[in-house]
Symmetry: C2
Subunit: 330 residues, 2 copies
């Protein structure tokens, strides 16, 4: 585990929204896709949903398709899926290498769709794809810096939400304290930094934990697919630093939202309160809500959970480190 | 067969380009799609190829998806195909009715792709789709006003070009001549207009052909997919009023064009001369040719075939009626 500062700057993790509309593309909003940019952490970008035209949206950003190493599909409705074959082709065309594989996570059927698309179009990609089709809730991916959990939501079609947990950062090595205690510099600094006990040449045994600054909690990002309110959301969103929640319907439309397996802005805000999240980003905005009406969604949600934003295509949000203590995801 | 004038105006048939780029979407050009607008003739629009983002492009035009009754796919490369599932879904979402069916023509595999896409996304369309998968050259569709022929081109993947022939218009009934010859008006005018012989109450037998103005030839539009130069093009393009031809490569790149199963602007122009077409529209323009370089493609082609244009997204071209006689498509 490395430090969270590089040259004194905090590691910047960003969410960049590529499509924030519901159902069909509109002039003002494309269909669903959001990029989680982990460039400083692991030099990767993860995409959540790939609606049609996502590769077109990416053309207007600084995102390099070859940096996209993981794709998480929430559900297989077209507005979350139909941009996937085109994106995969362009990633190949734009020079992704054999050693730059891609993992696609999603409900059962995503592999069938992608394989059929690539087969009929006789697309030969320059890089390998691995499919992870989800069938149950739990940990679906882990590397040295992150864990990703998935859980079933409640939509008309099988749909997953994702919780991305950054692992905690160990404290910085307190070099000044080591010098004051006359611990000679050298390879043993690495062992101390790892929290190990070491015996010095003068016979003293010291514990690395005594020479480490405070550990820092990693960040938690929760990205839900389309859903009604359901208990699984609480497991996914508990104490998240950012919750990306759909808001297909407005205040007073909870009946409609329920009938169409969606949520209202108010339900999303109540969920944010219940889950003790830090920030709520509302997306999947219906074309019925334009301009001032979209602001009304934010206003109605903000009365319940003040730190709420209705996102627009190309909005970028930095995900801040948590400042207070919190429990661990069970 | 009706007259070609309504209230003295000629029937306007238009080609509207929705995507004119090659391979991958670029900021300046989307991937392939062109609409043949037959609104005045038969109140229909026909789409040729549906690259990803075609439905997004349509949002910026006056085209109503429900008016699109036929889709012709030239080949199954992604940049000509991957917008199809999204377009079909939006056509449903935007209110196409059960009695507004769609026919999709294309190479074998197009039905597999569409059916897989609709199945995994659990899309239930509001209208029926009929698939016509092509396997050989010839007449593939006919209604009371048009005939459509398809022929194999020479591309890396199975690829078709399409020739759309408007049926000839019979001449107008010469009412003044009928009055001068004291032929009484009434239902027999309809028979005369149909070119039949009728016997009048005064015993005279007259021939409708003697009372008809000149017939007018219908228009011919040829839309090719990606292709090297090949004999089939001549059958498709002979004496076309408009030839839509790919121009993926520029002058001096015929070797490259051949290697990649494409054509140069010069080859397209030579083809236009050889086929005696009236107008050449160059499309499928590589992102390597932007601004002044795209103009160079038109310039180089224009030296060989003057009536050449390099098309841009959203360009609209009226297809004029032919003014001189010509042979019939064999
Ligand atoms: Zn959905
Ligand atoms: Zn092609």
């Amino acid at each position: 585990m490395s430090f969270i500062k590089i040259n004194g700057m905090e590691l910047i993790m960003e969410l960049e929204f590529l499509g924030t509309g519901a159902g069909s593309p509109a002039k003002s909003r494309n269909v669903s896709s959001v990029a989680l940019k982990l460039l400083e952490e692991i030099n990767e970008i993860w995409l959540f949903d790939v609606g049609e035209g996502t590769q077109h949206q990416i053309l207007r950003t600084t995102i390099k398709p070859r940096k996209v190493s993981k794709i998480f599909i929430t559900h297989l409705h077209g507005d979350h899926l139909f941009g996937l074959p085109g994106f995969l082709s362009s990633r190949s065309f734009q020079g992704a290498q054999k050693n730059e594989p891609l993992i696609i996570f999603g409900p059962q059927g995503v592999a069938d769709f992608v394989k059929t698309s690539l087969r009929v179009s006789q697309s030969r990609l320059s890089y390998p794809i691995k499919f992870v089709e989800l069938t149950q809730d739990g940990l679906i991916y882990e590397n040295n810096r992150f864990r990703v959990y998935a859980a079933h939501l409640n939509h008309r079609i099988e749909c997953y939400g994702y919780r991305i947990e950054e692992k905690d950062y160990s404290g910085e090595l307190l070099v000044e304290k080591l010098i004051a205690d006359q611990v000679p510099s050298g390879p043993l600094y690495g062992q101390l930094k790892a929290g190990k006990k070491v015996t010095l040449t003068d016979g003293r045994t010291i514990d690395g934990h005594d020479y480490l600054g405070p550990t820092r909690k990693g960040r938690i990002i929760t990205i839900l697919g389309d859903t009604r309110q359901t208990a699984a959301i609480e497991r996914l969103a508990e104490r998240a630093d950012v919750l990306v929640h759909e808001s297909t319907f407005g205040k007073g439309e909870s009946r409609l939202a329920h009938d169409y397996y969606h949520s209202t802005c108010v339900e999303a805000a109540q969920c944010a309160v219940r889950c003790h999240v830090k920030q709520l980003l509302l997306t999947h905005i219906s074309a019925r809500y334009v301009g001032i009406q979209a602001l009304q969604l934010a206003k109605d949600a903000g009365k319940i959970f003040p730190n709420t934003k209705v996102v627009k295509d190309f909005d970028i949000f930095a995900v801040p480190f948590p400042t207070r203590k919190r429990g661990v995801h069970a």
